[in-house]
Symmetry: C2
Subunit: 415 residues, 2 copies
Amino acid sequence: MRQVVPLKRYSPVIVALVLLLVVAAGSAQQAPTPVPRDTLFVPLPDGPQVFKTAEQRLRVVPLKGLSRPWALAFLPDGNMLITERPGRLRIVRNGVLDPLPISGMPQVLNLRLKGLHDIALHPRFAENKLVYFTYWKPKPGEKDVATAVLGRGRFDGGTALTDVRDLFVADAWTDGAAAARMVFGRDGKIYMVIGIPIRTRVGTAESAQNPDNHAGKVLRLNDDGSTPPDNPFAGRAGYRPELYALGIRNAIGLIIHPETGEIWETENGPQGGDEINVIKGGLNYGWPVISFGRAYSGDVTGDNSGPTSAQPSAPGMEQPFLFWAPSIAVSGMVFYTGDQFPAWKGNILVGGLRGTQLQRVVLNARGLPIRRESMLTELKQRIREVRQGPDGLLYLLTDEEAGALLRIEPVNSSE
Amino acid sequence: MRQVVPLKRYSPVIVALVLLLVVAAGSAQQAPTPVPRDTLFVPLPDGPQVFKTAEQRLRVVPLKGLSRPWALAFLPDGNMLITERPGRLRIVRNGVLDPLPISGMPQVLNLRLKGLHDIALHPRFAENKLVYFTYWKPKPGEKDVATAVLGRGRFDGGTALTDVRDLFVADAWTDGAAAARMVFGRDGKIYMVIGIPIRTRVGTAESAQNPDNHAGKVLRLNDDGSTPPDNPFAGRAGYRPELYALGIRNAIGLIIHPETGEIWETENGPQGGDEINVIKGGLNYGWPVISFGRAYSGDVTGDNSGPTSAQPSAPGMEQPFLFWAPSIAVSGMVFYTGDQFPAWKGNILVGGLRGTQLQRVVLNARGLPIRRESMLTELKQRIREVRQGPDGLLYLLTDEEAGALLRIEPVNSSE
């Protein structure tokens, strides 16, 4: 496609990106993969900005200095651990980003959206100081193949993660673009979701329906990485015992519903077919057999450019709670439960990567979606993660080389 | 929903709206219906603005002074006829909006989105000066019921439409929100589409499947309003002879494909299920039996708040070319064929009302959709109509009380 905007307008940005590329290549031994985008990259201003939305004015306060931040976890002291996809673990102490990454992280394959992904504290972190994370482990002897791993280390608040080990190495090898997330359930078990890419040499979308691997699945693990004996497919021939649910595309959000304790997942479709699913043990969520999406080739029926929605539903396969067409590339999500945005209480707030927005889904008293609002589109930033802080404010991460943590505050009428 | 934005910030807008309400009520005997919106009304600046998009910088040049403009037609001399929903026909002469409406228009029911709608020139306008329009004719003795009418008059370039008459009065009476559009086909016939609302007292969504009325149908008429004998359902018992296609929801765009001559239609779904359809004679487009939308109540299966997508497909019912979920309320559309935006050639450009945007749908060499881009979201204006001018520029109408014609120009790299 033709680029008619004059390059000279973006030269400072290009210089900054080139510098970042050099730095990232030097530190992680791989150059970051360019992410295809449909909107121009617009640099984020250094200072706060105020935006109007349907029911609330918002102040966006950026904390810059992150590169491809992916996930964040709030520490009990209010500090934050933030992963960067190239493999670094960062910390924000008293609102200031420590320029020094936390040491001790394993080597990751930072390629085609793979890299260092999720981070979460053990439910008893205050006692055991255990930090969990997901990452893509390179395959020895291959330059672009990796699998998803659940890792763990101990963090005492200093500058190093210690006692770092792989708790679970999945059988989900791929050279494609895939994500891996994890969350602790109310039952104390770890739920880990591993996405499955399309158009790959190693690992195909069809793996999501094959119960003899971990790609395109939700897994259920003990907090030491072992397999609980009461998993839904335990003992079934041909099924990996870790499986909890099948038929997942590229899952980018995974949370626990604050009231019901259910596992809610967001996943990206191709052209259309982004979904929010309520994950129940033993069920099949249909990818790539069913989807509301369309192949990247434009075809509705399958062709050799990747799986597609020949049909939106099929017997024995679950329908999403909600879907998007076209895709906004839904990412992290929360159910808002705080007091800072009273009009948003009980709403879903979900990020959009390609759709460069924070989307609000209004639910009625029966928990059914009745309205959606696209917010912060003015920023033109790929929103990777959405979290509610202990202060009731929202915290977003932007999926950009010049990435940022965004604190979202209400602007009250008196201001 | 709570409105936390301070009202005092919007008092000038509120004053202007109140004034407009008073003026409109006085001139058309009905107060305009407030349109529910999910974004705040943001006044359009008086001067041009420049926006970046993925492949093209755009200059938006507003021409203000219109109220709820609905459709426009280019006259051979480059002037423009513009309908306003309250019932006025306006003219732009040499780029200037004549403050005096064109006289001679019939009385319309301007209520719940009904009113004066489409406008088109006869293919031989240069000879016969015939102008066609669609409007909602009030039912005598009822305060809120109307039906769709195809009207015609003669326009010699002056200040009056003469010889105005109803060519075809549909049997599509309703008190709900509905649209009516028309276009001349390559065969010289008039294709007229009449939408069907939901949650109404008179006229229900189920009418769209009943072949014995004109609501929720595409009709095919001669240029004098009579019925062509070769219509697809001609002579079939229980079918109105004007019917061309069935199962239409609220159609807001209707155009002829510039290469194939096919009839392309846009229609609004409820929560999700906005569609672009390629209309073929004799076919059923499924509303309200099938849809990708969801009832306003949030339910997926039907309830008493209106029809919904119990299923996205069914035998004997056509699938859309493209659909949206959530709805942006797709409106007017064009296939871009001009030289002013070379990167957009062959793309679909479609308006969004609720979605306050101009959306670009990129098609591949086989005519299949491969990408969508939301543009002009910064304006926060409900886009009602999209037309390509004889100059290759784009012309949009904003569906606002303080509405405008927007001329969209490319901004070249040297500027």
